[in-house]
């Protein structure tokens, strides 16, 4: 993209002009972007306008693999990802997984972690029972709420 671009200073100048007029809104749409400048309310002259940008080409769906959300078989319960992020079965690379198939877990047993924005979030089993399936791959990007494991709850 080599075309000239509106700088923050340009936006400030345009708003200063609009602020001295009776206009409430300026809406500019081009092939590349749409910019809306809107008078929102009172306060300081510099603070009462908003700018909203929309880009024609930007921000399509990010190309990341997402674990498939499976139907939970009858009699089993799903362990869901607490947040979107990367699912890990072990506390560190090379370490033993938190649980394997067949493991007995309590509701607060940590069965994995989901890394979101550099924070490690523990995944709790949520139910007492036995791990019968591990649905998400180690290292996979998962959506919030995606099924990670299946547990057969104790009666």
């Amino acid at each position: 993209m080599n075309e000239p671009f509106l700088t923050p200073e340009d936006i400030a100048d345009i708003v200063a002009i609009l602020d001295g007029s009776d206009y409430r809104e300026l809406d500019v749409a081009t092939a590349r972007f749409r910019l809306t400048l809107r008078r929102e309310g009172g306060g300081e002259a510099g603070g009462r306008w908003s700018q909203e940008w929309q880009w024609a080409a930007a921000n399509g769906p990010a190309a990341v693999a997402v674990a498939v959300v499976q139907d939970t078989p009858a009699g089993l319960v799903a362990v869901a990802a607490p947040l979107p992020g990367a699912f890990y079965r072990a506390p560190a690379p090379g370490a033993a997984p938190f649980v394997e198939i067949g493991a007995r877990v309590d509701g607060d047993t940590v069965v994995g972690i989901v890394e979101t924005m550099k924070l490690m979030n523990p995944v709790h089993a949520g139910h007492a029972g036995e791990v019968v399936a591990i649905v998400a791959d180690n290292g996979a990007m998962v959506e919030g709420g995606a099924t990670l494991m299946h547990i057969r709850p104790h009666a």
């Binding site: 993209m1 080599n2 671009f5 700088t7 923050p8 936006i11 400030a12 708003v15 200063a16 602020d19 400048l37 809107r38 929102e40 309310g41 009172g42 306060g43 300081e44 002259a45 510099g46 603070g47 009462r48 306008w49 908003s50 700018q51 909203e52 940008w53 929309q54 880009w55 080409a57 930007a58 921000n59 399509g60 769906p61 990010a62 190309a63 990341v64 947040l83 979107p84 992020g85 990367a86 890394e115 979101t116 924005m117 550099k118 924070l119 290292g139 990007m141």
Partner: protein, 443 residues
């Protein structure tokens, strides 16, 4: 002369660097991970180079992948931004070995500031005050150190970090038990029982000085106050630091320039200090050998484009600025709008922003890569934009900040904006000069 600049970063700083580089006539190439190929910086740059899959370890932190992408793109320089590889000496060396310019200081400066203990000894060598204290291998040594520095003291693990195992001790009577506990914790956590004893500053302010050097000359661009933090993460920054005695301010600025000269530093850097809010005493903490997130507040009061200065010095120019030519005016405040929910213990909130209405107008600058429809991936940090206000004095800047925050509206993901509205309305913040415990007392 830099013609083709490779930007080894993402988000708002990649966009910020590209803006200045394009204004200077450079061709910009953004190195993007798979998660960022449709991001705004990738759209805005002249060219995009894919550096790897979404996880940082395989893309933005992968030295070989970034260098290979920059070489393939025929770049003649790499700007590392902040975070990621920006202070990685091996990356700087690899950039130079591949025949490119590293837009940052010499490798010797990166090594000198590589860890906090080393930074402390370099600071001492440059004549800067540091927090009184030192290492202790035995309980007797720890007790002797505590007698030297005076109570209260802070015990830290030498091998530790991130606040782990820190203990505050108020009285000599408590020392034997606390030393034993600290040493056994240090042994358990890090396999190294050595502890570090330093004076505890009850009311500390985080004040830093922006510096520029060209390997020969050095100058400063005034102070920034970054005392409002949560878990060592800065949330609000302002320039100049408010409510500082002139003697303290001058002392900080001169100390920062002394260190910059001592290192024969090249490029933009930030010298961080802990200021005792009660006494005005200040102590050198570390130097950040890169551009910082909060650099726009310094740009707002000085009119200097710090990215431009980095690029000029990196290309071999001497500083075109002189200390006398830098005349800060007015007051600037930056708040970080993060995709985190302050109502849920700052839980990260990645996702799609269904509507982003940022404030606009005189005295307002927005540095953000997130527009309406923008996506915040779960893979990287939560910074989605910075709101920077400038006004003729601090009260006017605080008033402008409050009305700008009232206008700001982000829909689709929770953000830290509501927290900032409370900060802007807090009487202690309005008065200025708060210490690092500010958030604990926020209503």
């Amino acid at each position: 002369m830099i013609r083709r600049l490779f930007i080894a970063n993402r988000g708002e700083i990649a966009l910020r660097i590209a803006r200045t580089a394009q204004r200077l006539g450079m061709t910009t190439i953004v190195g993007a991970s798979q998660a960022d190929v449709t991001s705004l910086p990738a759209q805005f740059a002249d060219e995009v180079a894919l550096i790897g899959p979404a996880p940082s370890a395989q893309s933005y932190l992968n030295v070989e992948a970034v260098i290979a992408a920059a070489v393939a793109a025929r770049a003649d320089a790499i700007h590392p931004g902040y975070g990621f590889l920006s202070e990685n000496a091996r990356f700087a060396e690899a950039t130079i070995e591949a025949g490119m310019i590293f837009v940052g200081p010499d490798v010797t400066s990166l090594n000198a500031m590589g860890d906090k203990l080393m930074a402390r000894s370099v600071g001492l060598a440059a004549g800067l005050p540091v927090v009184p204290g030192g290492e202790a291998a035995t309980p007797e040594q720890a007790m002797a150190r505590a007698r030297e520095t005076g109570f209260p003291v802070l015990l830290k693990a030498v091998a530790g970090g991130g606040g782990k195992g820190m203990k505050r001790v108020d009285r000599a009577d408590d020392m034997p038990a606390m030393i034993a506990m600290a040493m056994s914790e240090a042994q358990a956590a890090f396999g190294d029982p050595r502890i570090y004893v330093e004076r505890f500053i009850a009311r500390g302010r985080h004040v830093e000085v922006q510096v520029l050097g060209d390997g020969h000359d050095a100058l400063h661009l005034g102070t920034r106050d970054c005392s409002i933090q949560r878990r060592f993460q800065k949330l609000v920054e302002e320039a100049p630091a408010p409510q500082l005695a002139d003697a303290t301010r001058n002392g900080l600025e001169q100390a920062a320039v002394a260190l910059t000269r001592h290192l024969a530093y090249r490029g933009a850097g930030t010298v961080e200090f802990l200021v005792d809010a009660q006494t005005g005493d200040f102590f050198f903490l570390e130097m950040n050998a890169r551009i910082q997130v909060e650099h726009p507040v310094t740009e707002a009061i000085t009119g200097v484009d710090l990215i431009e200065q980095q690029l000029l010095v990196a290309a071999g120019s001497r500083l075109g600025l002189t200390q006398d030519a830098i005349r800060p005016s007015g007051h600037a405040i930056e708040v970080r709008i993060n995709a985190e929910d302050p109502a849920a213990d700052f839980r990260p909130s990645p996702g799609r922003v269904t509507r982003a209405r940022w404030p606009a107008g005189p005295g307002i600058r927005i540095d953000s890569h997130i527009a309406t429809g923008g996506v915040i991936p779960p893979t990287y940090d939560s910074l989605m934009g910075k709101l920077i206000v400038w006004a003729r004095d601090r009260p006017a800047a605080v008033a402008l900040l409050a009305s700008a925050l009232a206008t700001l509206s982000i829909e689709g993901v929770p953000t830290t904006a509501p927290l900032h509205r409370r900060i802007a309305a807090d009487p202690r913040f309005v008065a200025g000069g708060v210490d690092t415990r500010f958030l604990e007392g926020l209503a």
